[in-house]
């Protein structure tokens, strides 16, 4: 491995200062499960690791706590904690399921939720260091290449898919992210956090290199049911081929509000606004679920080898909707 310097800053403010001072040489590290692999493979130029786990003043960064109107999750909370924490499993099952479906126990034991949200693409070409857009190049090799796992929505000029399992779940739950940067902090909705390649092909979210995702606020909503369903190519250790995060606010057996976001099919967690509108105020019947499935893939633009994802996504949305609605 290249020479690395590990820095344990005292505070978030100091982390940001260090990130600012070292520019692209520096990166924030949570669990390191993604970043270390990228450094070993020379995918990123990082030489200085600003280690959040070494913060002496951690505050609430590694806790899940109750807020007056929901919960606050520290960015350093591990996927393992998130998937089993009573506050999460009780009210936000979709988030617990999403966190528990990622990777393996060993990765979940150290991988943080902030790191999961900020992990880089797992497109084969990016990971094999092809000179693609994500590496500062001027093409996307998957567009006409081995694109079995690439985007069917929102692609162009890059066709990566967003790999995070927790991100779609967080969006459906109406989460907000607290971001700390050089000019203080800001809070932004999870649904505004991710960036399409056509906006800026070099990044996957709005974070500046010297900003840190510090906390996640999830509001509490009475009568909310949520779930996360994921299709994998083997039963563990792979990112979603397609996934759906679903949250329903129910009034009896009528949906008062639905929130539905796909994972693994677009460069960002892919919201299904039209489906949400279709469901609002309705009772979920077999035919409505089928219609929702069809609408979910309306406008999909599959590449040469990933047309199957359209079929899978339609069926997954329909089935997940039906089973969540039928739960008592």
């Amino acid at each position: 491995m290249r020479r690395l310097t590990n820095v344990n800053p005292a505070s978030l403010v100091e982390s940001v200062e260090r990130l600012t001072a070292d520019g692209t040489r520096a990166a924030v590290v949570g669990g390191g499960t993604d970043l270390l692999g990228m450094i070993k493979d020379d995918l990123v130029p990082t030489e200085v690791l600003v280690n959040l786990k070494g913060l002496t003043e951690r505050g609430s960064l590694d806790l899940v706590e109750t807020e007056p109107v929901g919960i606050r999750i520290g960015g350093l909370v591990t996927l393992a904690q998130l998937s089993t924490h009573p506050l999460v499993t009780a009210q936000y099952r979709g988030l617990a399921e999403a966190a528990g479906s990622a990777a393996t126990p060993q990765i979940r034991n150290v991988g943080t939720v902030a790191g999961n949200i900020c992990q880089r693409p797992w497109c084969w070409y990016f990971r094999q260091n092809f000179p693609c857009y994500k590496h500062g190049g001027n093409r996307c090799f998957s567009r006409v290449g081995e694109n079995e796992f690439n985007a069917i929505f929102g692609g162009g000029p890059s066709y990566i898919v967003h790999p995070s399992d927790t991100a779609p779940a967080l969006i459906t739950l109406g989460a907000n992210f607290r971001i700390v940067g050089p000019s203080g902090e800001r809070v932004i909705s999870a649904s505004d956090f991710f960036t399409l390649p056509r906006t800026d092909v070099s990044r996957e979210n709005i974070l500046e290199p010297n900003e840190v995702l510090a906390n996640i606020y999830v509001p509490s909503t009475p009568g909310l049911r949520s779930t996360y369903a994921k299709v994998l190519d083997r039963e563990a250790w792979t990112h979603a081929v397609t996934s759906v995060a679903l949250a329903l606010e129910m009034d009896g057996n009528v949906v008062s509000r639905a929130s539905i976001v796909l994972g693994g099919v677009a460069p960002i967690p892919w919201p299904l606004k039209a489906v949400e509108e279709l469901l609002a105020g309705q009772r979920i019947t077999e035919s409505l679920a089928a219609e929702a499935g069809r609408l979910a893939v309306d406008g999909a633009q599959p590449l040469s080898k990933n047309g199957y994802k359209v079929t899978l996504t339609e069926n997954l949305v329909r089935n997940t909707l039906q089973s969540l609605a039928n739960e008592v």
Partner: protein, 897 residues
């Protein structure tokens, strides 16, 4: 014999930097740098507890936790299989929780508590899980075992009575490429193994015994090649071609050689050693120009530590002139396509003719004329990797002109022979040691280029050299199973009798052909008119060669799919179709020494309740479609030369055999045979193995031959020993007696084969494209089973590996650039605990006196019928056939569309 293999060792002298000896660890090297030592990398003092012992040390910030444990604290029980969080071999506990120590920096463990496999036992008292792994035959090769143990331990620490599902979930992050998942789970569940021999067991043979070296494998004490450290050792790394085909126009090593800590840089210019077992037709140098596949070695470096070696690679400038390339084996034979090797892309036959390998009997025209139904179909299988858990590695040390090589080989005798030949030195100057090795499945049969590279670097450096391939290098630079395209045309008469059988097949060998390239399976059927024509073809994909059951799993998938289709078109139950058309004699002419294929099918079908479960496929579109499938397989159980030496001293027997035990429990089986032959207890036998200086020739653990070849040698040596004892008339005393034997048994005019019939039930999720194996039954005849416990593990593992081949694995290439895009466990989607179903295993045990105590073989047969059985079950469930591997969701959805 390859004429180019006997070359001068080196063409010209090699660039060598100051040959002084440097201190190996530089924990105190900050500040003033001694000449030739790289400037210190950033360091931090940390304090942590490892297995309850407190350490305060200075570590480089870039060291991973596993690097600290293995390289600096000598705790080598924790293994590295991928260094990327993709395999689980490096699992340790950090503050009581399992983590991948390859994906954590050592500095992050500051103030924390680390537990490794070495910390599980309490002195001599094993952890109950370690004992359960021994009794339940958890480890095969053992390379994944410490990781499995640490995950299992975490499960029972939080939940002393877990359900089976909880165990699998907790161990989901630990791959076992030997695929002993059933055994590991059962051991954690404290479910004792059941298997027993059907024949009356003899005193020791036929009785289930835990492996005699299981304790070493569960405590982390077993020493694998990567665990070997010798004083003054340098670390090597290899630069590999990023191009599928290119001429190297310039290599500039100046900057690398100027780097402090770099000792040797080798390129083709200084080294024209050939790797003769790397190609049996064309010269294959350690460093080739042109380079012919992505991963072809270009240069190698030996430096003071692994980081310096890696840094040196980055400053070696190589200019490539890219050449046209071809990936597809059928396209490679078209005219106007680039020649991968001089003379054309059809690899020559043994006799040098550039013609396909042809087997023929009868007359196809006659056969097709007599056929009422003819099926013509094409099947396409892919390159996939052996992916053994232990990446290729080597440690080479010269003492004068004597080479000692530690290498994870499947045959120390062959490796010694090959090393001597390639280095042009007499075999007695080469010592090969392989005590434990982490699997190979056919890609560690001979010596490897990595063995030679380490040896040449060490000779030039005047210091020992360790070379460890990365997981990616192992996927690209070693070899995998050859991809095939199989065109079949098969005819049968209305009564279901085969009349004509034609295969035209192509195998993609990459740019070098080591061996075979065959497509086997049609010989499983009786048919008067047969023609098989197979073309092994050079391409610019990575090299392909032996992988478990080499020519069979893909060939049997093709032929068994077509047979299943034929049975379907004739409206005959595939079981009846098989029984009607089975081989009775090898190629319909050579009798078998014993033949149980029919019994395998009938007994397997009874146990599986085939008669009540098989239905004509109805093409229904249920959300979940269930189906059953069956397929058969055979594998040669050869006899041949091998040696054994027995030494009896003070009532204890020492058995010297040149085996390495690749995870098959060979050592245990050999000890059982020796104990049986000598009428002794197994505990009175000590096996001396894995070292050419202490062991006679053994055939090598490939081709499933060791039990028969070396087993015979042991029995014969024992007979001699017993004669010597008898001659002493009870006056044995303390005098040591020695006997040795090197029999070379043959079978004239007969064929000797192990056989198998597999039955599977699957579910196809027609909406999400998934295939799930619900029940798997493997019926095998492998002669007498020497050790039912470990033999069953072999079958379970082979079947599970076959399921991975059927459903997941493929090395995918970008067609435009010729670069593979998914090397590694993550991309190959190797089976995990959550994917592996329970495999039910039964043995038929005939008496076949040609084998030692009637034994045949168990290593390769279990993988053979698997892909075919699953493919046929998919057809039975859905009425559709998937004709290209692997059967991924994409292909299921396409097939159902």
């Amino acid at each position: 014999m390859n004429p180019v293999s006997r070359r001068a060792f080196l063409k010209s002298s090699v660039a060598v930097t100051a040959a002084t000896t440097f201190p190996r660890t530089r924990l105190s090297a900050a500040g003033q740098e001694p000449d030739g030592v790289p400037p210190a990398a950033p360091q931090t003092t940390i304090s942590l507890r490892v297995n309850s012992e407190r350490h305060t040390l200075e570590v480089e910030d870039r060291w991973t936790l596993v690097e600290l444990l293995r390289d600096h604290l000598q705790l080598t029980g924790t293994k590295v299989g991928c260094d990327r969080g993709e395999c689980g071999a490096c699992t340790v506990h950090l503050d009581g929780m399992p983590v991948y120590s390859c994906s954590q920096l050592a500095v992050w463990a500051d103030g924390r508590e680390v537990t490794t496999v070495e910390g599980l036992a309490d002195g001599v008292h094993l952890d109950p899980l370690q004992q359960a792994f021994i009794d339940g035959d958890g480890p095969q090769c053992g390379f994944c075992t410490s990781g499995q143990l640490m995950s299992a331990k975490a499960v029972v620490m939080t939940n002393p009575n877990p359900t089976e599902d909880e165990v699998r979930q907790g161990m989901a992050g630990n791959i076992c490429r030997c695929s002993n998942y059933n055994r590991y789970v059962a051991a954690v569940m404290s479910r004792p193994p059941q298997q027993a021999s059907r024949l009356d067991p003899l005193a020791t043979v036929g009785v289930s015994h835990p492996r005699i070296d299981a304790r070493e494998r569960v405590t982390g004490l077993a020493q694998y090649t990567g665990d070997v450290a010798v004083p003054d050792m340098l670390y090597a790394r290899v630069i590999r071609s990023p191009h599928p085909h290119a001429r190297i126009t310039r290599i500039d090593t100046t900057h690398a050689l100027e780097m402090p800590g770099v000792h040797v840089v080798l390129t083709r210019q200084q080294c024209d050693v050939t790797w003769s077992s790397g190609d049996s037709h064309n010269p294959r140098y350690l460093f080739n120009n042109p380079v012919r596949f992505v991963g072809d070695p270009v240069a190698a470096v030996a430096a003071i530590d692994r980081h310096t070696a890696e840094a040196a690679l980055k400053v070696i400038d190589v200019d490539y002139e890219p050449l046209d390339f071809v990936l597809d084996h059928e396209e490679a034979l078209l005219s106007g396509i680039v020649e991968v090797q001089p003379g054309g892309n059809l690899s020559p036959r043994r006799d040098g003719e550039r013609l396909p390998e042809i087997y023929q009997r009868g007359d196809l025209d006659v056969g097709f004329a007599a056929s009422d139904v003819i099926v013509e179909e094409t099947y396409v299988s892919k390159h996939h990797n052996n992916a053994q858990m232990e990446p290729r590695s080597a440690v080479a040390q010269w003492t004068g002109d004597q080479l000692t090589l530690w290498s994870p080989t499947q045959g120390i005798s062959n490796t010694r022979r090959d090393m001597a030949r390639d280095l042009d030195i007499p075999p007695e100057r080469v010592r090969v040691i392989c005590q434990y090795m982490g699997g190979g499945f056919g890609n560690k049969n001979q010596n490897q280029d990595s063995d030679l590279i380490a040896a040449v670097l060490a000779r030039e450096a005047g210091r020992p050299v360790k070379l460890e391939l990365t997981r990616k290098e192992d996927f690209l630079g070693v070899h995998g199973r050859w991809p095939t395209t199989q065109h079949y045309k098969i005819g049968a008469s209305r009564d279901g009798t085969l009349q004509a059988l034609q295969l035209r097949g192509y195998s993609g060998m990459g740019p070098h052909r080591k061996s075979s390239g065959g497509i086997a399976g049609i010989e499983l059927f009786r048919c008067p008119n047969v023609r098989r024509e197979v073309s092994p073809v050079y391409t610019n994909m990575t090299v392909a060669a032996n992988f478990r059951g080499p020519a069979y799993p893909q060939g049997v998938w093709g032929i068994e799919s077509v047979m299943d289709q034929l049975a379907h078109e004739l409206a005959i139950d595939p079981l009846d179709f098989h029984l009607h058309n089975l081989t009775r004699e090898y190629n319909d002419e050579t009798p078998y020494t014993s033949w149980s294929l029919r019994e395998c099918i009938t007994e397997g079908a009874d146990r599986f309740d085939w008669a009540n479960r098989w239905r004509q496929p109805n093409g229904r579109t249920d959300r979940v479609a269930r189906g059953v499938g069956m397929a058969i397989g055979m594998f040669a159980a050869r006899l041949g030369r091998s040696s054994a030496v027995l030494r009896l001293e003070q009532n204890h027997l020492w058995l010297h055999i040149g085996v390495t035990d690749i995870g098959t429990a060979t050592k245990t089986a050999m000890a059982q045979i020796a104990a049986e032959a000598m009428d002794m207890n197994l505990t009175d036998v000590t096996v001396v193995w894995g070292d050419t200086d202490q062991c006679p020739y053994s055939v090598g653990e490939s081709g499933s031959r060791t039990t028969t070849h070396t087993g015979h040698a042991i029995i014969q040596a024992a007979e001699d020993l017993k004669r010597q004892i008898a001659a002493l008339n009870g006056a044995l005393g303390d005098r040591p007696l020695i006997a040795q034997a090197t029999p070379e048994p043959t079978i004239e005019g007969m064929a000797r084969y192990a056989s198998a019939a597999h039955f599977v039930e699957i579910e196809v999720d027609t909406e999400l494209g998934g295939i799930a194996v619900m029940q798997y039954l493997a019926m095998h005849e492998s002669g007498r089973i020497i050790n039912p416990l470990t033999a069953e593990s072999q079958i379970k593992g082979g079947v599970t590996m076959g399921i991975g081949m059927a459903l997941h694995e493929e090395l995918v290439y970008d067609r435009a650039t010729g670069v593979p895009v998914n090397p590694g466990y993550y991309g190959a989607k190797v089976m995990t605990h959550l994917d592996a179903p329970e495999i039910e295993v039964h043995f038929i045990e005939p008496i076949d006196t040609f084998g030692p105590y009637s034994a045949k073989n168990v290593g390769e047969p279990p993988v053979i019928p698997v892909v075919a059985a699953i493919g046929n079950a998919v057809f039975n469930a859905t009425g559709r056939r998937i004709k290209e591997l692997p059967m991924t969701r994409t292909r299921v959805v396409e097939a159902l569309a």
